[in-house]
C-alpha cells in the first residue's frame, strides 16, 4: 500500500525528504495523514506553497473543536495565545507591539554586539582547543545571548532557555509529563521576569510589552506572558538549527567556504542560498482553509488542512533549476523566512546573527573541518525542527 503517513523521512544529511521530489513530479497536491490521524493536503510547488502562506483565507487558528491538527497534544500548538497560532486582527495587533524591536534598522544596531558575542564564544572554543562541538559552544549560545540582551536579563538566566524551548517544540522526544514540568518552569520564569520589570522599569523589550499592557491596554496578561515566552522560543532553536546547517553545508562545499574566507562580500547572498538548500524546517506549519481556495495546482476546500513545507518550495526545479546546487544570487529569494502574515518576525536579526557568526568563524578558523564524516553526524528528530545533536570540528 502507498504510505501517506506524514512526516516523510528526510534525505541524507537531513536534506529534502525524497518523497517530496517524487510527489512534486507526479502529484503536486497530494493527500497525507498527519500524526494525529487527520487528513491534510500537501503542496510542494513553489507557487502553491507561496500562495498558501500569503492567502489570508488559510488560518493558523486551529482551536475550534474538530479542526485538523499536525501533531498530537504539544505545547506549541496548544497555546492559543502564541503568535504562530493566531489569525487576522488579533495576530496583527500583537505583532505590532513587538515589531519595532525587529526592524532592519534595529537589527543593524545589534550587529556589532552580535559580533562581540560570537567572538567571545569563539575565544572560549579556541582556548579549550580542538576538537570542539560547535552546536553546543556556538550555535545554541549565540541566539540565547542575543535574546538575553534584548530582554535585559543576565546570560546565566539564558542557560535554562534551551531546555524550555526544546520542551515547547517537542512532539515525540520528551514525554508529555516532562514537557509539562518544563512548561511550568518556563511560564513561572516569564511571570517573574514581567514582575521584575514592573517593579523596576527599564527600556528593553519586556518593558515595551509590559507598557503596551499597563499603559495602553493593547493585550491581555495571558497574551503578554505568551508573547515574551514566544520571543524566547522564536529566536533560539531556529537560529541554532540554521547556523549549524549553514556550517555543515559550507564544510561539505569546501570551495565555497574557501571563497568566503578570502572574500566576505558574498556572505549575505550565501546565507540566503544556504537557507534555501538546507532550511531548519522539513514540515512547516499546518493551516486550515476558511473557504474554498484556488491554488495554482488545484482547489483546497473549506475546512481542509494544508501543509506547505518551505524546503519543498525551495527545491522546485521549475523555479530553481538544479535545486540541490548552491548558486549565489538566485531569484526569487523571498521564501526562506516564509511569506504572508506569519513571515518570520525576526528575519532581519536572524540574518545579522547568521552572517556575523559565520564571518567570525571564518576569521578565527579558516581551516575549519568536521572531525567525522558528515553522514555520521547525529540528528535529533523529536521536535518540530530536526536539529544536529552535535557538530564536532577541528581546525
Amino acid at each position: 500500500m502507498t504510505d501517506d503517513r506524514f512526516p516523510f523521512p528526510d534525505g541524507p544529511l537531513s536534506t529534502q525528504p525524497p518523497e517530496y521530489a517524487r510527489r512534486r513530479e507526479t502529484c503536486p497536491m497530494s493527500d497525507v495523514t498527519t500524526p494525529t490521524g487527520d487528513p491534510a493536503v500537501l503542496v510542494l510547488k513553489y507557487h502553491d506553497v507561496e500562495a498558501v502562506m500569503r492567502d489570508r483565507r488559510f488560518s493558523r487558528d486551529l482551536s475550534a473543536p474538530g479542526t485538523p491538527r499536525l501533531f498530537p497534544s504539544n505545547l506549541l500548538s496548544d497555546d492559543p495565545d502564541f503568535l504562530m497560532n493566531m489569525h487576522g486582527e488579533d495576530h496583527r495587533r500583537l505583532r505590532r507591539i513587538v515589531a519595532s524591536a525587529f526592524t532592519p534598522r534595529r537589527a543593524e544596531q545589534w550587529r556589532p554586539e552580535v559580533r562581540r558575542i560570537a567572538d567571545d564564544l569563539l575565544d572560549r572554543v579556541e582556548a579549550e582547543g580542538p576538537p570542539a562541538d560547535l552546536m553546543a559552544a556556538l550555535s545554541y549560545q549565540l541566539p540565547v545571548r542575543v535574546i538575553c540582551r534584548q530582554l535585559g536579563v543576565p546570560d546565566e538566566e539564558g542557560d535554562k532557555f534551551q531546555g524550555w524551548v526544546a520542551a515547547f517544540l517537542s512532539v515525540s522526544g520528551m514525554s508529555m509529563a516532562e514537557r509539562e514540568v518544563a512548561a511550568g518552569e518556563f511560564t513561572g520564569y516569564v511571570e517573574e521576569l514581567v514582575r521584575r520589570h514592573r517593579t523596576a522599569p527599564g527600556d528593553d523589550l519586556v518593558d515595551q510589552i509590559v507598557n503596551a499592557r499597563d499603559e495602553e491596554d493593547r493585550l491581555t496578561e495571558a497574551e503578554l506572558v505568551s508573547l515574551v515566552r514566544g520571543l524566547i522560543v522564536g529566536g533560539n532553536e531556529t537560529v541554532a538549527n540554521s547556523l549549524s546547517r549553514c556550517v555543515l553545508t559550507l564544510l561539505s562545499h569546501r570551495g565555497l567556504w574557501d571563497d568566503l574566507v578570502r572574500d566576505r562580500s558574498d556572505l549575505p547572498a550565501a546565507v540566503e542560498e544556504l537557507l534555501r538548500v538546507n532550511p531548519p524546517g522539513r514540515i512547516g506549519l499546518l493551516r486550515v482553509a476558511t473557504e474554498d481556495v484556488e491554488l495554482p495546482s488545484g482547489t483546497v476546500r473549506a475546512g481542509q488542512a494544508v501543509i506547505s513545507p518551505l524546503i519543498a518550495a525551495g527545491h522546485d526545479p521549475e523555479v530553481f533549476p538544479e535545486p540541490d546546487r548552491i548558486v549565489l544570487g538566485r531569484e526569487p529569494q523571498t521564501l526562506q523566512f516564509g511569506a504572508g502574515p506569519h513571515f518570520c518576525l525576526g528575519v532581519h536579526l536572524a540574518r545579522v546573527e547568521l552572517q556575523e557568526a559565520l564571518s567570525a568563524l571564518m576569521d578565527r578558523f579558516p581551516g575549519l573541518e568536521l572531525t567525522a564524516p558528515p553522514e555520521d553526524l547525529p540528528w535529533n528528530r523529536g521536535g518540530y525542527g530536526i536539529t544536529l545533536s552535535s557538530l564536532p570540528v577541528r581546525w
Binding site: R54, R96, S100, T103, P104, T334, A339, F343, H348
Partner: protein
C-alpha cells in the same frame, strides 16, 4: 524641447491595510521605501523618478504580503 510624458514617472502604491511591518521593502531598497518605527510602510501612493525603478521593484518583490504594486494610471478619485 518636448515635455516628458507622464508615463515617465513611476507610480507606486503601498497597501497599508495589507502591510504587516516586515520592513523587507526598506531592507532591500531603503532609498525608495521608508518605514515607521514599527517597520510599517505608510507611504500610500507616490511617484518616483523612473531611475529608481530597479530598486522599487526589488523592494516590492521582497514584500512577503505583496503589498506594493505599480498602478499604470494615476490615483483614482476619492
Amino acid at each position: 524641447m518636448t515635455t516628458r510624458p507622464d508615463t515617465d514617472t513611476l507610480r507606486i502604491k503601498v497597501d497599508g491595510g495589507v502591510c504587516m511591518g516586515h520592513a523587507m521593502c526598506n531592507a532591500l531598497a531603503p532609498e525608495v521605501y521608508e518605514v515607521d518605527d514599527a517597520g510599517f510602510n505608510r507611504m500610500g501612493e507616490f511617484e518616483l523618478d523612473p531611475a529608481g525603478r530597479g530598486a522599487a521593484e526589488r523592494g516590492a518583490s521582497a514584500c512577503p504580503e505583496r503589498a506594493i504594486s505599480f498602478p499604470r494610471s494615476g490615483p483614482t478619485a476619492g
